[in-house]
């Protein structure tokens, strides 16, 4: 008994002594998180650069950034599953407001965070003597992001809180925007001097020489050429002439075309976007994805919700191919293949794109390399379709030729989900351009999904999304030449694209030569002006998430004022209708329309801790 008492009293006396000496229980050692100290090591700088590459997935793949670039353009309009009043609808109609979250996605998502990560890489990398190559990559990517922001929203803050183009580590709740001029051209810090420096830092780099898919000099030149071109346009639209920058744009593009550092045009246009030929030599940069272990678990490879990084923009321009036009199960089902995917019907090409831009579908292979025409029976082979006959696996179920066909009937209802045209003696359904609806339209084949491993048709696509192609550098140079008044130089840069467009793998050399002759003759016959350049850009780059910026840069929103398509009605066919976008109804007389810049998102302005007047002043002038 006494021993127990002794023990207890001993504990009483001893524990305060022990515990005071053990005050380390108040200290912290993180064992499952990484602290920012990592940035001070070489390894940390490289890991941070990898994270910037990963951030490409936020902006190329998810739908919101894609919508910003494609809705309300002359290439596309909303599909039948876009509800009236939804953000998609407001964007396409130009009735958006600062509250339209999707329109503000670039500004209010983490693009600035990755700009800041680049700041950290450059700041710590320069201090630690990192390889110029790494610094050049980070500098290019930072300028590229800043370039996107300034084109979409106007001047951006170059100082995030700890100095101009410096790594911000303070929890600031204020912001000051630089002007558009400063953003582009501030001495030493602007996008232009930074990119010029990056092009030097990346000198000699070639495709895949450091790691596959990394930024090289060719990509930096592509961005710089486009920056020069855009800044030239900005000066021209604001009372200057921009010639100096158009010339620099031309020179930079030409230098890249002449010495592309291992990049090259593909022989066949079709192959540029073939899922089996992804990451080909024509792609200057892509937001990569794969079915590699760990990827899908963490990056949103699930039932394609709008997860932050999943590639679901491939669903957007898919028609309702997987429901039957006759009663009974559909013979054509979803599949994780480029021709099928998930029919989201959020976006549709316009009648004008199908019939005018891609008027020549015979000689120019680019229509067939962009759109899908045929859906085949891939399930329920042999089941009755309710019309008159049955489908075997591989039979055509829906045919959208992209032109009017002799003998095609008017759309009729066969008891399925929509009316459809037919051809005499054929069991499949047909949609010609005149009867193309917001629900039934040629799919954007280019971006079709490819998930051979998971096989899940509804999950996000594991294909990379292309960010920049070498062919666009030709078109940037051509546009600069047009602005410099030198149409010969412009044609010289477009000619290789037309020659390539004439090639079809399935044709003989003679057939390809004949097509080439037609396409080149057509080029010679054209008036080479900015509208021609914009048409040619659509033929080459349709649906690649570039279009809104093209129209904004060239002040050509007037091209998007009207478009045609048939409204969708499940029971009766509706006539081809020409729509006028309300916000653009007088656009040809409004060169300073507020719609040439997006509003700064309201949620962002709400998050600022500044007085009301400063908050108001932060908004773009015409959006206040």
């Amino acid at each position: 008994m006494k021993n127990i008492a002794k023990f207890l009293i001993g504990v009483m006396v001893a524990t305060p002594v022990v515990m005071t000496s053990c005050s380390e229980i108040l200290d912290e050692t993180p064992r499952s998180t990484i602290t920012p100290q990592l940035m001070q090591t070489d390894q940390g700088v490289e890991l941070a650069l990898t994270s910037v590459y990963s951030s490409l997935r936020y902006f190329w793949g998810p739908v919101s950034p894609y919508y910003v670039m494609q809705y309300g353009t002359d290439e596309s309009t909303y599909g039948n599953l876009v509800g009236a009043g939804s953000e998609e609808y407001l964007m396409d109609e130009y009735t958006l407001t600062p509250e339209t979250g999707r329109a503000g996605v670039y500004w209010s998502s983490n693009m600035f965070a990755y700009i800041n990560t680049c700041n950290a890489i450059i700041q710590n990398g320069e201090a630690g003597g990192a390889d110029a190559r790494l610094l050049g990559e980070a500098r290019t990517l930072r300028a590229f992001y800043q370039f996107l922001l300034v084109q979409l929203y106007g001047g951006i803050p170059l100082d995030l809180g700890s100095g101009i183009q410096a790594y911000n580590t303070t929890a600031v709740r204020t912001s000051t925007r630089n002007t558009i001029d400063e953003t582009y051209n501030m001495a030493e810090y602007g996008i232009i001097p930074q990119l010029e420096k990056a092009v030097t830092e990346l000198a000699g780099s070639t495709r895949n020489d450091r790691q596959a898919g990394c930024v090289t000099q060719a990509f930096a030149q592509y961005v710089l050429a486009k920056v020069y071109l855009t800044y030239g346009w900005y000066l021209k639209n604001n009372g200057g002439n921009g010639q100096e920058f158009f010339q620099k744009a031309y020179n930079t593009a030409k230098a890249c075309v002449d010495n592309p550092g291992g990049f090259a045009l593909e022989t066949y246009y079709h192959d540029v976007h073939d899922a089996l030929n992804d990451r080909n030599a024509e792609i200057l940069l892509y937001a990569d994805r794969s079915d590699a272990a760990g990827f899908s678990a963490s990056e949103g490879d699930s039932w394609g919700t709008e997860s932050a990084k999943g590639n679901i923009q491939s669903y957007a321009m898919r028609p309702w191919f997987d429901t039957g036009f006759a009663s009974g199960a559909s013979p054509c089902g979803r599949a994780a293949e480029q021709d099928y995917g998930r029919p989201w019907r959020r976006m549709a090409p316009t009648y004008e794109v199908i019939t005018r831009i891609f008027a020549d579908k015979t000689n120019d292979s680019r229509y067939d390399g962009t759109f899908q025409k045929v859906w085949k029976c891939n399930q329920n082979g042999g089941s009755a379709n309710g019309v008159s006959t049955t489908f075997a696996l591989g039979d055509t179920v829906i045919y959208m030729p992209g032109y009017e066909i002799e003998g095609a009937s008017e759309p009729q209802h066969f008891g399925g989900s929509y009316p459809v045209q037919t051809l005499p003696g054929k069991n499949y359904g047909v949609f010609t351009p005149k009867h193309m609806t917001r629900e039934n339209f040629p799919a954007l084949w280019k971006q079709g999904p490819y998930n051979p491993l998971s096989g899940n048709a509804n999950s996000s696509s594991l294909r990379p999304v292309d960010i920049a192609k070498l062919s666009e550098v030709y078109l940037i140079g051509a546009e600069a030449a047009v602005m410099l008044g030198n149409t010969e130089n412009a044609k010289a840069l477009i000619r290789p694209l037309r020659e390539r467009a004439a090639n079809r793998e399935e044709n003989t050399a003679a057939q390809n030569e004949a097509a080439k002759a037609v396409l080149l003759a057509d080029l010679e016959a054209q008036t080479i002006d900015i509208d021609f350049i914009l048409d040619e850009r659509s033929r080459e780059l349709f649906g690649e998430g570039l279009r809104w910026l093209d129209l904004a840069r060239t002040k050509k929103l007037s091209r998007a004022k009207t478009y045609s398509i048939c409204p969708f009605d499940a029971s009766t066919a509706q006539p081809l209708t020409t729509y006028t976008r309300p916000g653009l109804s007088n656009i040809e007389n409004e060169p300073n329309s507020k719609y040439y810049l997006h509003p700064i998102p309201q949620t962002f302005i709400d998050a600022l801790d500044m007085d009301d007047a400063s908050k108001k002043a932060y908004q773009n002038e015409l959006w206040r």
Partner: protein, 1032 residues
């Protein structure tokens, strides 16, 4: 920390020190002539007392009585003996051989004692706000966990389920919520040790009492953990006397409270026709729809579950000590397949007195198995069209069903027979142990050491193979995941207490020094394409798809504290209590780790004053006032250090990882503090046959831990946790208890009510802003305020122009929402009521809060000749009930014909009501009718009978010599009735929420995830229970 006490005791300096202490405390005894005394100790009824202490006065020479109350002790002739036993008045007598000592019961000791932090106090001395719930009250509601049984029983304590799934936890809120970002959960203390486990691990039958400390004057001694109230759980311990065996058990059927109210085949077909006429692409029959088929998918899959509970405890007192031990078993299978909960428990307590030293041990161990926590079939059942037969023409079960949208689902009937293709199981082992030693140092001064050692381990495994409805119809690979978590926690408390009465003065003082640390480790792995189904999740490496992916996390957090408390009572009339506690925590920034919390309270037992002596009917009149400060330390560890986020990328098809700065170091982070005033009035009439307790309180929480969203331009991805903002709570509580009939012709009838109201308000947010729309916080409104469009009806025929101006495509049959004339952009209306602008985001407004205006519970008990009938109920008046089933995020009220639809009274030209929009009308987000989120709000009012029990206690005459001293049989029905609920009248469903807003919905939406809602969770049940209690 390493416990180096023993090494230190070995230390010479320490030896000297305690030797000195012992010398002072143990006077040298004089040796005199010794005689052996034999005697017996009996109680007032002449029954022997076992375990009574017999000690020679002034010495440590003593012994204890045996089973028959006998003792033998050698003492000097003529020595004085002190005979004592808990619950009896001590006696001093002169030693005589053959003596018999009769101990009288200590009536005072039998006065109600309540547990306060680090001690107990007489109820009449208590100055804070403390509610006690005894085990018999808890047992009136047979339930899986103690918190479930506590629901609606205590004023000011709002307990809501967070899920209706078996084995799910409850959310406890004491006097409302006060914190925006940190936890609002109260501190739970189990047998004196802060509880780092899951309340579900404790069998409700093991609980002797639950004492709920509600105000800061009571909780401030828990300092940095006291802000959200404290629940002190005391478990049963051994009692002196002969061994007794207690058995409590029941079995019962778990039946469906109600099905989800879905449209049947005819109703869906009719709705689709309307939708099609309005232009919906989904207003058509699907490829598998058949006329004449009306499949009730719920009926096909729901079943009757079983609940089983058995507890057995053996307890006894022995020489100088007591013990109890026992085991428990609980098992509940749900009404939906593949869900269930099972728990095994073993517990023991030992108390032993060794001279001046008392030592004891409590050990609580449980092993539980939860099935199906991530496997809910409900959404699938409800979305599948009733027009589809589960069987094909040949009568064979279909695998995959095609819906009219070209979506496909796995046949829900497969839920009933998943075999090896599905597993979803959590196995948890928990061991909660506390050890104490207590020594009487001198005259009321005691030292006590508490040691708590807790361990909880939980392993979760999940497996789904293609073909089960838990996966998509087109799944090719099975998926499997395993995770493991371990929590270890130790607590060391050194307590010095001093209790003494000097005439009319009574003083009690407590001082404490403590330290504790909790460590948590978690690891998880997942894989897909497991090579054979029967492998399930047991060996993820045997897969044929991708490499196994693993992750882990870890934290360690520590707390060191000093505490002192003085309580003083004069003449049993005037009470004063003051405490101070200083806490240091590892999770805060350097320099902000320590804080000191004061509390003070006074009380006055006015009925003991002379001037009230004549009012015989007034048996109690007590006033209490208390003030205290507490805080909330629920900051996650390492928040002050900043972090980098890991991201993945791909190079050449191979995964690479990158790190990006994520959050910035935060060297300012401190705690949030709550100051609290409490005013209490206790009344008792007619010898406390009727009692009333009224409490009024105010709470003011400042330096709120608020996660501030930084503007994107800061380049910092994560939000920033900082101390800004304030909230206020004020409210009242009223508890009434009465014995209406007290053995009147054999009838006894008691009745109890509790009511409470809490008003919660945010008084300050970050910066100058008075609103944080993203988080749903508004100055001047409740933390849980609901911000949305305000539905005022449906646009009717004749309102075409108004509808078209209000939203793009607007037409009759669409939901009509009101313009916000206060905060919104200016709007004018022309003579026909046509607005000048469309509805926009600025028209959203505060439309209410889920907080009730008045909440509480009631219970009544009628007894007659061994029969007893008890009813326990709960009620809530006012507030908003959110049913995500009816809104846009549940996907079940899209009114488009695409999925099964909740049976709602939708608008048509021939049915021009104002309830639900017309099918196929104008769409908003989520392919739902525009403004469909407004359809999810209902009045939350309900009155619910939680249980009705009928019991019969067998009379002693029947039990006779069976050895059984008590036997009661009973039958209970839970959830029998719901009254006054609009939601229940419309849907037939239980009006109590079953999910957080981001759970059990098809897509997350604008409702803040902290709001409790009704979603597609396991349906509520009505249980029919037969039980037996035995003591022998």
């Amino acid at each position: 920390m390493k416990l180096t006490c023993q090494t230190l005791i070995g230390n010479r300096a320490c030896n000297m020190l305690y030797a000195l202490v012992l010398l002072v405390m143990f006077p040298v005894m004089v040796i005199a002539q010794t005689v052996t005394i034999k005697g017996q100790v009996l109680d007032d009824l002449g029954e022997p007392i076992l375990g009574a202490n017999v000690v020679q006065v002034g010495t440590t020479n003593g012994t204890m009585t045996d089973l028959d109350g006998n003792f033998t002790l050698s003492v000097p002739a003529g020595a004085r003996l002190k005979v004592s036993f808990i619950g009896y008045l001590s006696q001093e007598v002169t030693a005589q051989n053959g003596m018999t000592i009769n101990l009288a019961e200590d009536r005072k000791a039998l006065e109600d004692v309540v547990v306060i932090g680090y001690g107990t106090a007489k109820k009449s001395d208590v100055t804070g706000s403390i509610a006690s719930v005894s085990s018999d009250k808890l047992r009136e509601v047979p339930a899986q966990s103690a918190t479930q049984a506590l629901q609606g029983r205590v004023a000011g304590v709002d307990i809501q389920r967070t899920s209706s799934r078996p084995g799910a936890d409850q959310q406890i809120r004491i006097r409302g919520t006060r914190s925006l970002t940190a936890s609002n959960d109260p501190l739970i203390v189990l047998d004196g040790i802060p509880f780092a486990g899951s309340i579900g691990d404790i069998s409700p039958n093991d609980i002797k009492s639950m004492d709920i400390l509600k105000d800061a004057s009571a909780t401030a001694i828990y300092g940095s953990r006291g802000a959200n109230g404290v629940i002190i759980i005391t478990t049963n311990r051994g009692k002196s006397g002969k061994a007794t065996v207690n058995y409590n058990g029941y079995v019962g059927a778990v039946t469906l409270f109600s099905e989800y109210p879905m449209m049947n085949a005819d109703q869906l077909t009719k709705m689709r026709e309307v939708a099609k006429a309005n232009g919906s692409a989904w207003g058509v029959a699907g490829p598998m729809d058949e006329a004449g088929v009306n499949t009730d998918w719920q009926d096909e899959v729901f079943k009757t579950g079983m609940a089983n509970s058995h507890d057995i405890t053996i307890s006894a007192g022995t020489e100088g000590g007591s013990y109890s031990f026992g085991g428990s078993y609980y098992n509940e299978s749900a009404v939906v397949p593949n869900q269930g909960y099972e728990r095994f428990g073993i517990r023991a307590t030992i108390d032993q007195k060794i001279g001046r030293v008392r030592v004891g041990l409590t050990t609580q161990n449980s092993y539980s198995i939860t099935d199906g926590e991530n496997s809910s079939p409900i959404y699938n059942l409800l979305q599948t069209s009733p027009n589809i037969s589960p069987y094909d023409e040949a009568g064979n079960l279909r695998d995959v069903l095609s819906l009219n949208s070209s979506d496909k689902v796995v046949n829900p009937l497969i839920y009933n027979n998943v075999g090896e293709k599905h597993a979803d199981r959590r196995k948890s082992f928990a061991s909660y142990n506390s050890l104490f030693g207590e020594v009487d140092i001198w005259d009321g001064l005691k030292y006590r050491l508490n040691v708590g050692l807790n361990y909880r381990q939980s392993k979760y495994g999940q497996f789904n193979a293609p073909g089960v409805p838990y996966l998509g119809y087109d799944a090719i690979f099975s998926s499997a995941a395993v995770n493991n978590s371990h929590t270890t926690n130790w607590t060391l408390e050194n307590l010095l207490t001093y209790d003494k009465e000097f005439g009319k003065h009574r003083v009690s003082a407590t001082a404490m020094y403590s330290a504790e640390q909790t460590e948590y480790e978690y690891s998880t792995m997942s894989a897909s394409g497991i090579t054979a189904d029967q492998l399930q999740y047991y060996n993820l490496a045997l897969n044929s798809d991708k490499a196994v992916v693993g992750q882990g996390s870890h934290y360690k957090r520590g707390l060191m504290s000093w505490m002192g408390r003085v309580q003083y009572v004069y003449d049993n009339k005037y009470m004063f209590s003051a405490s101070v506690r200083s806490d240091g925590s590892s999770v805060l920034a350097e320099g902000k780790k320590w804080h000191t919390y004061p509390a003070v309270s006074i009380g006055w037992n006015a009925n003991r004053e002379e001037f009230l002596k004549d009012f015989d009917w007034l048996s109690n009149l007590k006033l209490r006032i208390g003030y205290g400060q507490t805080s909330n330390q629920a900051v996650s560890p390492y928040q002050t250090l900043g972090s980098m986020a890991m991201v993945y990328y791909t190079v050449n098809g191979n995964q690479v990882t990158g790190y990006s700065p994520y959050s910035v170091p935060n060297d300012e982070l401190g705690w949030e503090y709550t100051s609290n005033w409490n005013y209490g009035l206790d009344l008792g009439f007619w010898n406390n046959r009727l009692t009333a307790a009224f409490e009024f309180y105010t709470q003011h929480t400042k330096d709120l831990l608020l996660s501030v969203t930084l503007p994107a331009s800061s380049g910092i991805q994560s939000s920033y946790l900082t101390n800004i903002g304030e909230t206020k709570n004020r409210g009242f509580e009223l508890t009434l208890n009465g014995i209406i009939l007290d053995d009147y012709n054999g009838w006894t009838w008691s009745l109890g009510f509790n009511f409470y109201r809490n008003h919660n308000e945010i008084t300050q947010l970050a910066g100058d802003s008075d609103r944080d729309i993203a988080n749903g916080w508004f100055v001047g409104e409740s933390i849980d305020a609901i911000y949305d469009y305000n539905k005022v009806g449906i646009y009717q025929v004749g309102e075409e122009a108004i509808a078209a101006a209000a939203h793009s495509g607007g037409k009759p049959g669409d939901i009509k929402v009101s313009y916000n004339l206060e905060d919104g952009d200016a709007v004018t209306f022309d003579a026909n009521g046509v607005p000048s602008r469309a509805i926009n985001a600025s028209d959203r407004q505060i439309i209410g809060t889920p907080d009730g205006d008045l909440q509480g519970g009631f219970n009544t008990n009628v007894a007659w000749k061994g029969f007893d009938l008890g009813i326990v109920g709960a009620f809530k008046f006012g507030g908003i009930l959110v049913s995500t089933l009816h809104g846009s995020n549940g996907y079940l009220n899209m009114l488009s014909g695409r999925r099964g639809n909740i049976d709602v009274d939708y608008w048509t030209v021939d049915n021009p009501n104002n309830d639900y929009p017309t099918p196929g009308g104008t769409l908003g987000g989520q392919d739902a009718p525009i403004y469909a989120s407004t359809l999810q709000y209902f009045d939350a009012t309900y009155v619910k009978i939680r249980t009705i029990s009928l019991g019969y206690t067998l009379p002693k005459s029947i039990l006779g010599k069976t050895g059984i001293s008590n036997c009661r049989v009973y039958a209970t029905v839970t959830n029998p009735f719901v009254f006054f609920s609009d939601f229940h009248s419309e849907t037939g469903m239980d009006p109590e929420p079953n999910s957080f807003a981001n759970q059990n919905v098809a897509a997350s939406g604008s409702t803040q995830s902290r709001v409790l809602t009704i979603g597609t969770n396991t349906p509520s049940t009505r249980n029919w229970i037969f039980g037996l209690s035995l003591t022998f």
